[in-house]
Structure formats: structure tokens, C-alpha cells
Symmetry: C2
Subunit: 344 residues, 2 copies
């Protein structure tokens, strides 16, 4: 039953042995069976077809037996039904960006039915998942979504977002409010369709100094997590957030997913042992030798210091250059490790 799933237990703060493990970007990128499908259908072809998207979500579970399966979708998926002209080439291109107040009405909850494919994908994945594996939903955090919508011709250096932060903070607040509403709707749809935990990706929030982060990025995140209170465990990832640890801890998330730059030991020293942490092996480590992967995994587990509430993951997504073999080594090493206190 769902209450006993190892990943869910760790997200509730329990000590779970072996440490549950899943990897950001575990679906796609490094799997030959994914590449074959992508060759045939293209990225959007996969993401838009619930049967194919479910298949791609399940592939890494079959091969590696991860403790969590995360919805195969793009961070911009909930924005695709809206009038922004988003395409992938292969990175996201926004033909009709948000440039001023008049554009804000385009930022709204997508029309009924337009995200049914996501719900259908999640139902299919759950039906195909082993009982003990947790189904994860996800969304991009408002500031991170805004970075794409504000980019327009100024995508370089994230100039659109940064101009808004300092030049039009009221306008940006309005945009982020609307994106928070949209995200709450999107995550509730996922939970209704079977997502047993959700992760909010704030990939670009680390661009902001702490003061701007607290004023602009954090409030809509808090509102999203409040809206989901008591439903499923909520995980919050900020990339490049070594300077934002204390602020992230005020987000209302049940677990923080840390990038590889801050060690778990430092995070626990600053934030305490009670916090649930996810992470945080450097994805670059998987480009090294299998021996380096073993050492890296061991270090992360030891830096957690035996604190309960740890989910093993990378500090960011798997790099496309990762040798497949190293992913297997990682999982094997996590699974064979035991905390010192539990040794015979």
C-alpha cells in the first residue's frame, strides 16, 4: 500500500534503509530505449501522447528499479495550451512573450481538458508501476516559468527576467501571482490523477540575491505549497541556491532538493537534522569512472550523517553524456550502503 512506499516514508521524515533513490532526468537522455522512441516520434510527439509518455516514464524503473517515477513532461507543458506560441528548437522558444501588463491576461489557467493528457499519462504510469514505487508529479516554480515568458529576444543572460526584477517588480509580482494560480491548478490535476508527491523546480531562482528572492520568488512558492497542504509531500528544488538555504527552508516544502554545490552536512548544520533533504550528487560525477561514482555516492550518504529523511538524488538532472553503466553503479551503491549505527 502507498503509505509503506520507501520514498514516501523518507519524504515524511522517516529513516529508511536502504536510502530511497531516484534521479532527475532519469527518463530520457541516457536510455537507448528512449532514444529509439524519440528518433521515431520526436520530443513533443512523446510528451503529447499519454501512451508514449507513460512508456518513457516507466523505462528507467524497469531498467534500474528506482524508488520513484517522475512524470515525463516539459517544465513548460502547462503553458503549451496558452497563447504564447511555445516551440522547442530543441530549447524552448516563446514566439509571443509577456512584455507588459496587457499580456497578463494570456497567463491563466489552461482551458478545461487541455491538460487531460498529463492526467492520462499519470494514470497509465501508476497502472504500470510496481506497488512499492512512488509516482511523482512536478511543475516549474513561478519565477522559473516567468524566466521563459519574459525572455523574448532577451533570452541571453536571462535579461528579460532580470530587467523585470529590478525595473518592473509590481508587474513581475502580478505575473508570478498568475503563474502560481496556474501551477496550483496543474499540480492538483496531477494529484487527482495519482501523483503521490510533487516537486517544484525553481531552476532560475538562484540568479536572485536573497532580498529579491524573498520579495519576489518565495511568496508565490509559499502560496502553492499552502494550497497543497495535507495532500501529498511537497519537494522544492532551487538550483544555485547556496546563498538561499535559510530562505528556502521557509517555503513550506516538506523536503528541500539541494543542488550539488552545498554539501548535505553544511545544509544540516545550518538548517538542522529535522529537515527532509533530497540530493545531491554532482551530475558531473557520473561522467567519471565507476569507482568515482562509488566514492561520490558514499560521500553524499555519509555527509547526510545518518539523519532520517534523506532521498538520494543528483544535484540536478542527469547529463546526456552520462555512460549508462554509471547509473547502474550509482543505484547499486546506494542500495548496498548501510548507516554506521545499523551495522552488525
Amino acid at each position: 500500500m502507498s503509505a509503506g512506499r520507501p520514498l514516501l516514508r523518507a519524504l515524511r521524515g522517516e529513516a529508511v534503509t536502504p536510502t530511497p533513490v531516484w534521479l532527475m532526468r532519469q527518463a530520457g537522455r541516457v536510455l537507448p530505449e528512449y532514444r529509439a522512441l524519440k528518433e521515431e516520434h520526436g520530443f513533443l510527439g512523446l510528451a503529447r501522447d499519454p501512451e508514449l509518455a507513460a512508456e518513457v516514464t516507466l523505462q528507467p524503473i524497469r531498467r534500474f528499479g528506482f524508488d520513484g517515477a517522475i512524470l515525463f513532461a516539459d517544465i513548460l507543458t502547462p503553458l503549451l495550451p496558452l497563447d504564447f506560441g511555445i516551440d522547442f528548437a530543441p530549447g524552448p522558444v516563446v514566439a509571443r512573450p509577456v512584455e507588459g501588463e496587457a499580456d497578463l491576461e494570456r497567463v491563466r489557467i489552461p482551458p478545461a481538458g487541455s491538460l487531460d493528457g498529463v492526467a492520462e499519462t499519470l494514470r497509465r504510469v501508476r497502472a504500470g508501476l510496481p506497488e512499492e514505487v512512488t509516482l511523482l508529479g512536478f511543475a516549474g516554480a513561478p519565477l522559473t516559468l516567468a524566466r521563459y515568458l519574459l525572455a523574448g529576444s532577451g533570452a541571453r543572460d536571462h535579461a528579460g527576467l532580470r530587467r523585470a526584477v529590478y525595473g518592473e517588480p509590481r508587474f513581475l509580482e502580478n505575473l508570478l501571482e498568475r503563474l502560481a494560480d496556474l501551477t496550483i491548478h496543474y499540480l492538483e490535476l496531477q494529484i487527482e490523477a495519482g501523483a503521490e508527491a510533487v516537486q517544484l523546480f525553481d531552476t532560475w531562482a538562484g540568479l536572485l540575491p536573497e532580498e529579491e528572492y524573498r520579495r519576489l520568488a518565495l511568496p508565490p512558492v509559499r502560496r502553492i505549497f499552502q494550497a497543497l497542504e495535507g495532500q501529498v509531500p511537497r519537494i522544492y528544488l532551487v538550483k544555485d541556491g547556496a546563498h538561499l538555504l535559510e530562505a528556502m527552508a521557509e517555503s513550506g516544502a516538506d523536503a528541500l532538493s539541494l543542488d550539488w554545490r552545498v554539501s548535505l552536512s553544511r545544509a544540516r548544520r545550518i538548517l538542522g537534522r529535522g529537515l527532509v533533504l533530497q540530493g545531491n550528487l554532482d551530475p558531473g560525477c557520473l561522467l567519471g569512472s565507476p569507482e568515482a561514482v562509488r566514492r561520490g555516492v558514499l560521500r553524499v550518504l555519509e555527509e547526510n550523517g545518518g539523519a532520517p529523511g534523506h532521498v538520494f538524488n543528483l544535484g540536478h538532472g542527469l547529463l546526456p553524456q552520462t555512460p549508462l553503466e554509471n547509473v547502474g553503479v550509482l543505484v547499486e551503491e546506494v542500495r548496498s550502503w548501510r548507516p554506521a549505527a545499523a551495522s552488525p
Copy 2:
């Protein structure tokens, strides 16, 4: 005389009012007089001609009266005379990257005379500079240079560097040793030609967790700073280094240049008031309104808390989208500010 120059005094830890100010990337990018020259000669045409490079270095001093003028050159300039086939398109492209031990012999001190243009540029700049302005030399730190030489086809995600960090650390150490030798030579050439302070840019070191940073990136930096001991003030910049503050402070630099993510108040809380700090306004702030620039400047000055040894700068280079007017506002605001204790 040079000993009295405000920027040099601040780099020696003195309290200087008004706070000395210069900006990374102050030459080029936002200046119309630079764009006109670049249109005519191209980037390499400017960088390779001492008369033009000196002119470009002096342009921002004439327009804004900065306290420091920094050599106009590329971070890869000392590698151009070597057999790597480096070109700019417009970002750097390395036709013959470093892929294994056999390639290391190509990493060496450039042939005599091949960097004379840099020395000539510095002499011309000094001759054209107002007496009170400090002439700054610079170089890329070994790990940051290695990121380009190791890239090859794996430039995406810095995969070449990250693979070496975890897969071939001995090879990488050898490469970094050689790059340190080359950099010492290059900076000594600049000091001999008149550079009165030098800055080492470690743009990519922040990709590494603290352990790898300490093992690989830091030792060659320490060796470079040791070799220059007692010659001129040495400034060290790490981008994205919020997790590396304590380690950076062991580099042997006279001053740390901080990116905009860590506030000066946090840095001084961790590292003490005795440290000389440079920085660290978010370059994104200059995309906002003039009023936002004033507030941003004021905040940085106040976060320094009146500690002596502060050089005002950005947290990273000026963004090309910066309105020229905002640079003037920044300088004006720094110049008009007085620490609270010195108020009448």
C-alpha cells in the same frame, strides 16, 4: 604617485572615501564609441592591436572616471599563440582541444615575444591614464582556462571539465600545473609592463563542490598568488562561489571579488571584517530603472557595513543590454555616498 591611488589604497585594506569603483566589462559592450570601433575592426582586430586595445581600455575612464582601468583582452589571450586553434565565433571555439596526456606538451609558456602586444597595450594605457587611476592586469585561473581547453565537442554542460574532475583527476592536475606556470608568466609580463594590481578570474570554479575545488582548483591558484607575493595586490574572483567562501579565503589573494549572490554582510560575517572585498552589485540591477540602480548601489555599500578595504564593482560583468545612463548613475551614487560614521 601610485601609492596614493584610491583603488590601490582600498586593496591594501585602507578605508577610502569615496569608495573606489570600477566595473568588470566596463570596456566594450555598452559603450557606443566601442561599438563603432568593433564594427570597423572586429573583436580580435581590437584585441590584437595595442593602439586600439589601449584606446578601448581608456574609453570608459574618459566617460565615467572609474578608479581602475583593466586591460582589454580575452581570458584566452595567453593561449592564442599556442597550438590549440582558438577562434571566436563569437564565443571561443577550440579546434584542437586537450584530450589526453600527449596533448599536455602543447600547454606551455608562449614563445618569447608572442605576448608583446599585451605589454605594449598596458604601457600605452598607463601613458594615457590620469595619475590617480590604477592600471589592472588580469588572467583566467587555471581551472577556468582548462574548461575551454577540455571542451572539444563536449562544451555543453562543461562536460569536458567535469569528466576530467571525476574521471581523470591526475591528468587534470598536470594540466592545471602547466596552466599555472603559463599564468604566472603572463601576469609577471603584465606587472613588468605596468599593471599595478591583477585580478584572477575563476569563472567556472563554482561548478565544483568544495572538496573537488580544494583538491583541484585551489592549489594552482595558491601557487600563482605565491609567485606574485609582494609585487602587486592580487584580486581573486570566483563566480557562483557562495559555497566556497572559506576556501577562497585560503587562496592567498589580497582581495576577494564576490559575485552578486552572496551579500557582503554575509561574507564579512563568515570571513571577518579584515578581509578586502570587491563587489558586488547584481549586473541585472543595471537593467532596471535609475532609481533601482541607486537603491542597489546603496544596499551594497551599506552591506559592507563601513568595513575598510572595499572596492565597489559588479558581481560579474556588465550585461550588454545595460542602458548607458545607468552606468553613470551607478558611479554618481558610489561617489556621493559617505559612511554613517563620517557624516557631520
